[in-house]
Amino acid sequence: MIPAQFDYVAPSTVEEAVNALVEAGEDAKVLAGGQSLLPVLRMRLNVPSVVVDLCRIESLRGVRDDGDALVIGAMTTHSDVFHDPLVREHATLLTKAVEQLADPQVRHRGTFGGALAHADPAGDLGAPALALGASFVIAGSGGTRTVEADDFFEDLFTTAVQDGEILTEVRIPKYTGWGAHYEKFVRVAHQWPIVAVAAAVRVDGGTIAEARVGLTNMGSTPLRARAVESALVGQSATDEAVRGAAASAAEGTNPPSDLNGDADFRRHLATVLTRRAVLAAAGA
């Protein structure tokens, strides 16, 4: 299958890209790595009149250190995020999640911003970004605005990014010295998760001092497992204590039922994977 015809523009600045989007109206589509958009266009599930390719905007690529946070450009590829030493040191959870995302070829093209803007409920980067309290910088014709992680993911495939806007960068507070793990449950190679759990913990003398836990594919958006987080604080990083806290992982979730598993199975998976993720993050 090939996509329906569209006009193609590849501007070299964010401003030009926003102008092109605004001019084209709601029929325009942003193209980043194309790893989700091109399959959609090929199936003709979407028929944009104009495609605005961000590939020539150099300022959207790369990771930089900004004091107490890292700033990841929206067009940084999954593979570049994986190899980035700053991400590995200050946001290990992202390194762990991106390593398990798709396959090497897709990771060479797909981008950090593209995956988050796409907001597939089974996407592997939403739960880590939410758990780490990321903030999202969005550019539009009126300038830029910043949206916090709790407000970014609105629904299935829907984020705070509006028509005529571009996600330009994502700020991740530093979690230097925290342990992290992404536990992804799949049935076959290079698949989307049936359920996955993102966990980052700070362990102090064998006790969990702080914990952040995100859930993938347990609802229409990524979710924070806040009940687990508060139950973990002050516990020792042992199997028994973590098992107890993880038991509430499915609280407040609304997982889908599909061919890979029904909602009850996913609730069960969430507790098991949370225990594994937290124990691995704590190095226990």
Binding site: Q35, P39, S79, P104, Q105, V106, H108, R109
Partner: protein, 166 residues
């Protein structure tokens, strides 16, 4: 139509393409490079894998216009002066193919894998080839071929492997 300039297997190509043209269609239909094949409609199988600026990509999931100003290497550009690339040679010697349909993509991805990690473990080979499906071989001899190419062992005995199908 949009004019693109792409270096393909060492030769500069300048062509007009529709923006919706997929890189794989440009390679096969406009340049006649039918060594790169199409195995699926969902970007899952990896049969169409080529290198874009030295890194593996699925050419069914890239627009030809996105390759403008860049360099593409296909399976047809791997051999030098009629001499097979070590990975091609290893696939041949280890009997790493049956019908051969997945082979162009498998070889291109294996070359990428070895560029990144010249001494991969069996498990690293299997995960490195995660995006390439083979309906025939059960993967065992493909893994052996990558190990042989990594060892630079030529036709010498192939290191034994323990696992079954991936």
């Amino acid at each position: 139509m949009t004019r693109i300039n792409v270096k393909v297997d060492g030769a500069m190509c300048s062509d007009d393409v529709e923006p919706r043209t997929l890189l794989v269609h440009y390679l096969r239909e406009q340049l006649g490079k039918t060594g790169t094949v199409i195995g699926c409609d969902t970007s899952n199988c990896g049969a169409c894998t080529v290198h874009l600026d030295g890194r593996s990509v699925k050419s069914c999931n890239v627009l030809a216009v996105q390759a403008d100003g860049h360099e593409v290497t296909t399976i047809e550009g791997l051999a030098t002066n009629g001499e097979l690339h070590p990975v091609q040679k290893a696939f041949h010697e280890c009997h790493a193919l049956q019908c051969g349909f997945c082979t162009p993509g498998m070889i291109m991805q294996s070359v990428d894998l070895l560029n990144e990690n010249s001494d991969p473990s069996e498990e690293e080979i299997r995960t490195g080839l995660e995006g390439n499906l083979c309906r025939c071989t059960g993967y065992h001899n493909i893994v052996k071929a990558v190990q042989q190419a990594a060892d630079g062992a030529g036709s010498a005995a192939v290191a034994s492997t323990s696992g079954g199908a991936s």
